[in-house]
């Protein structure tokens, strides 16, 4: 394997090198689709580390026992001693934990990985065992952003994030093919040389790391840039400083310079940004003017803690960092995969039930109303056999000759051994509010929807439901709240509800359908779309505006008009959504009952329920949804 043979993936390679220099950066997470060469990269990274460094693959279907470790029963029975087996997390200690599909990991597993990362050790306190194993590992994770985001708590503990792994351009692709077909003979020699050299560089950088300096101004610049980008928490600053230091070490510098800061901004700060450094609509604004107008949110935030006067150099450093972030952003800013806050979240960890869903683990319990987990029951009984034999013997002596089949049996199982199956309940429903944010009643509608979202989330806890909100206006539909169970999150994200413009109903339905399919992949089988509209979709999927009355007159009404096309499009799409098994409730918010007609028709197309609620209160909306589900 040769590092330089991996074409493209430059940011990913850079991140991995920094991690190799300073493992306290926690890890590297990269968004990488199938075929982007991520497994090749993982192998190459393993080869860069000193010989004997553990490299542990975490399979997606791992059980909790194997992850954190537990009693090795075979050994225990054979030797008569308590033998604790290390889990995968402990096996990765001092090395790499590699996860392909970080966002597909079970919630309970993610929670354990997070816990181990925050402690630097694994603690086992289960099934009569108490043990702790060191677990300082670097996490190398990949995920496909089409399958949703990585849990925020986990991302927070991982220093380096590469949100766009692309080797898309044809030049690079051609190069991949050329190198893959290159003669293996001359490759091998060159490969070893290059890897040896890189290993040497990393080793040297590690030695130098403690003596490399970073100035206060540079640290201030990092903090200021993190604030401007709306990065949550203070851990990112630490990671950014460490990344800059590692970059300087790798470049053979003894002090951090601009280039190091830029690398840190790209790999640490940018992926954690929750807002853009400057207003999008004024990209040509000259920098000096920018500084005089701090953004309103920022000013608000700083109110409680007055800013001390900043030294001269610091704004320039912040600017440098922010421009590095901007340079790393792709053109299509709206579809950023890094906004983890809008991604999968709010899952309440381990929620288990008795009969439905995916089998997760066996727990102690009564057999009544449960399914017996035979093997775990036998395993639970096993350690006690010797004890029980002695007890049974004593009992038999006492009772004399009285025959007791239970006391005579070879293997004794007691009520306390009974283990029953627990299943992960993901059978809740996803409710997607599709809300028309155009027209004069938009504000009202949005407020109603927000109320209903809050109301539904109050119960979501019980029903394992999730709630999402899509609004549509102008040319496009927009996800305002990705599927969530968190009231807090919903409150914050729905704080700003943009309204006004045209009505791209079809785009919004499409977005809702996408969500339904995505959550189905994650184990939530049912989705209900709650469409709050007056039913008039006047902008098509392609974004072209439907003709108003005047234009239709001009067209003579002969040919299918743009409006007609949009309607057909809506009808077809609705039929597809209905056929896919997605439920629907159409809430008609039209105040003037005489002009009704579009919304009932939409409900019919969607094979859903129609409710007329022009001035709905949150409870009424929830009641209407309950009636339909």
């Amino acid at each position: 394997m040769n590092w330089s043979d991996i074409v493209g993936l430059d940011s990913a390679k850079q991140a991995l090198l920094l991690l190799a220099v300073d493992p306290s950066l926690g890890g590297v997470v990269m968004a990488a689709a199938v075929g982007s060469g991520k497994s090749t990269l993982a192998r190459a990274f393993a080869a860069l580390l000193p010989d004997g460094t553990p490299f542990v693959e975490l399979p997606l279907n791992i059980t909790e026992d194997r992850l954190i470790g537990g009693l090795n029963l075979e050994a225990a029975l054979a030797t008569g001693q308590r033998v604790v087996e290390q889990g995968l997390l402990a096996k990765a200690d001092g090395g790499v934990l590699n996860v392909d599909g970080l966002n597909l990991l079970d919630d309970a597993v993610v929670t354990q990985v997070m816990d181990a990362m925050s402690r630097g050790e694994v603690r086992i306190e289960r099934e009569g065992l108490s043990a702790r194993h060191a677990a300082h590992f670097m996490l190398m994770g990949t995920y496909d952003s089409n399958d949703g985001a990585v849990r925020g708590g986990l991302l927070d503990r991982i220093g380096l994030i590469v949100p766009f792994v692309s080797n898309g351009d044809t030049q690079a692709r051609a190069e991949v093919v050329r190198r893959n077909t290159a003669s293996p003979l001359d490759e091998r020699g060159a490969a070893t040389d290059e890897m040896d050299m890189l290993r040497g560089m990393i080793g040297f950088a590690r030695e130098q790391l403690p003596s490399i300096t970073i100035s206060d101004e540079q640290l201030e610049g990092i903090a200021q840039a993190a604030l401007s980008l709306g990065v949550e928490g203070n851990r990112a600053d630490v990671f950014a400083a460490k990344a800059a230091l590692a970059h300087a070490a790798l470049s053979g510098r003894d002090a951090v310079d601009d280039e190091d800061l830029q690398a840190a901004a790209k790999l640490v700060l940018m992926p954690r940004a929750t807002r853009l450094p400057e207003p999008e609509q004024q990209p040509d604004q000259p920098p000096p003017q920018q500084e005089q107008q701090p953004k309103p949110e920022q000013r608000q935030q700083d109110e409680d803690t007055p800013e001390p006067p900043q030294p001269e150099a610091q704004p320039q450093i912040e600017e440098l960092l922010l421009s590095a972030v901007e340079a790393a952003l792709p053109g299509d800013v709206l579809n950023l995969p890094f906004t983890s806050r809008r991604g999968k979240s709010g899952s309440r960890g381990v929620q288990l039930n008795d009969k439905r869903g995916k089998f997760v683990r066996a727990v102690q319990g009564e057999m009544r109303g449960h399914r017996l987990a035979l093997l775990p029951t036998l395993l639970a009984a096993a350690p006690w056999q010797r004890l029980r034999r002695i007890e049974n013997e004593e009992l038999r002596m006492k009772k004399g000759s009285e025959f007791s089949p239970i006391l005579n049996s070879q293997f004794s199982i007691r009520v306390s051994d009974i283990r029953v199956k627990k299943f992960r309940d993901k059978a809740g429903t996803l409710f997607v509010f599709v809300v028309d944010a155009s027209g004069s009643m938009a504000l009202n509608r949005m407020r109603q929807a927000k109320g209903a979202v809050a109301r539904l989330l109050q119960n979501a806890y019980v029903h394992r439901d999730r709630v999402a909100l899509v609004s549509f206006r102008g040319q496009q539909a927009q996800v305002l709240l990705a599927p969530s169970q968190s009231v807090e999150q919903a409150k914050r994200e729905l704080d700003v509800l943009p309204t006004g413009g045209g009505t791209p109903l079809a785009s919004a339905l499409m977005l809702g359908w996408d969500m339904a399919q995505q959550s189905r992949r994650k184990g939530i089988p049912n989705t209900t779309l709650i469409v709050m509209t007056d039913g008039r979709g006047n902008v098509g999927i392609s974004g072209e505006r439907g003709a108003g009355g005047k234009e239709r007159l001009a067209a003579g009404g002969q040919q299918p008009t743009a409006k007609q096309q949009i309607e057909d499009e809506l009808k077809q799409l609705s039929a597809l959504i209905a056929a896919d098994g997605v439920g629907a409730v159409v809430i008609d918010t039209q105040a003037n009952y005489l002009s009704r007609g579009e919304a009932p028709r939409l409900a019919k197309w969607l094979d859903g329920r129609y409710v007329y609620l022009p001035n709905a209160r949150a409870e009424q909306i929830v009641a209407a949804i309950d009636g339909a589900a």
Binding site: R126, R235, L245
Partner: protein
């Protein structure tokens, strides 16, 4: 990156884990720190729940608390950390050998640091509450009770990080024990009851998962924590973290004087706590405040007064009492003691902190 393959290296790695960041070196987050310290001074305050943003030092701070806690006396080697034989366990025949010492007349006391038990999320009930010693059963066919984490936490702190991700069932067990002060185990033919009084400390991020509403008001104080926005403070955080990561021992050494000072201050506050007096008019105003906020029951009043007393003791420089609690002390503690006891309305726009502030 060397592997810790030898047992010695493994031991060293574990020892290194035990050096936590010094409490006094933690920048900002004063509310959380104060709430924790007041629970040290008066454990009857009823614990702290810390909720807030990621990466703001919640777990670092709680884990750092252990190092500033004063020592307690216990019967030598007692796994339940008992000081006297009052907290007697039932069914003594099943207990470990040290128990015979407890039964005998010659009771030796020893000093130990206040225990802080850090509950891992995957913990099962048998290890939390205690169960039969699996090794004794395997090797000798003996039935012996192996005390769990609740026994270890007696007279100390029990910390649950990411409390909102813990199994509901386990949370219920913990809350029951925390409320009663006793742990009762019925298992494998044994029946044991032992004292388990501890201060419950939880922390979490509301976005990782919603807390059950009834869970929050079981905690005495509720601290909220947000991202620090002051640039100078943030720079300080980075510098201290780098220094600590590079050489934990040297960093601890550097902060030892401050740690020592805080330890002294805590011991002093504990000593004079019983001399703190809450005048009737202050008590009346505290009660009025709770009424104004529409708080049901008396737990709110009780917590706010206890917290105010502990705060007065913590602030006092006097060597002796009596110390009068002022309404200002109540004001300082009101938000943390009451914000989680207000009636919840999902559509309420006004923040609970704001509501407490207005009532004040």
């Amino acid at each position: 990156m060397a592997t810790h393959s030898t047992p010695h290296a493994e031991l060293n790695a574990l020892n290194a884990l035990n050096t936590s960041f010094p409490f006094t070196a933690i920048v900002g987050q004063e509310e959380m720190k104060l709430c924790l310290l007041l629970n040290v001074i008066d454990p009857r305050i009823g614990g702290v729940m810390v909720m807030g943003h990621r990466g703001t030092g919640k777990s670092t701070t709680v884990r750092a608390l252990a190092d500033v806690l004063p020592a307690i006396k216990r019967i030598e080697g007692d796994v339940y950390n008992r000081e006297t034989r009052d907290g007697r366990t039932q069914d003594l025949s099943l207990l470990n050998s040290h128990e015979s010492k407890v039964k005998s007349q010659k009771v030796q006391l020893e000093k130990i640091p206040v225990p802080v038990v850090d509950l891992p999320l995957g913990a099962t009930e048998d290890r939390v509450c205690g169960t039969i010693d699996i090794e004794a059963a395997l090797t000798r066919g003996e039935k012996r009770f192996a005390p769990g984490l609740l026994a270890q936490a007696n007279r100390g702190f029990l910390y649950i990080d990411e409390v909102n991700l813990l199994d509901d069932h386990l949370v219920d067990v913990l809350l029951d024990v925390a409320a009663s002060g006793w742990n009762v185990v019925e298992r494998e033919g044994i029946s044991i009851k032992h004292p388990a009084r501890f201060v419950l400390v939880g922390s979490g991020n509301p976005e990782e998962g919603e807390l059950r509403p009834q869970l929050l008001d079981r905690f005495g104080l509720h601290a909220r924590i947000t991202t620090i926005t002051n640039v100078q403070e943030r720079v300080e955080i980075v510098k201290r973290r780098r220094a600590f990561d590079e050489n934990p021992a040297a960093f601890m050494q550097m902060w030892e004087p401050q740690q020592q000072q805080l330890r002294k201050r805590i011991v002093h506050a504990q000593k004079i706590l019983h001399e703190v007096v809450m005048p009737d008019d202050v008590l009346l105003r505290a009660a009025e405040l709770c009424m104004k906020l529409g708080i049901d029951g008396h737990r709110g009043e009780l917590t706010v007064t206890r917290a105010a007393c502990a705060y007065a003791a913590f602030q006092s420089k006097a060597a002796h009492g009596p110390i009068d609690v002022k309404y200002d002390d109540v004001k300082v503690m009101a938000t943390a003691a009451l914000r989680h006891r207000l009636r919840r309305d999902p559509l309420e726009i006004v923040d609970s902190d704001e509501r407490v502030a207005r009532a004040l």
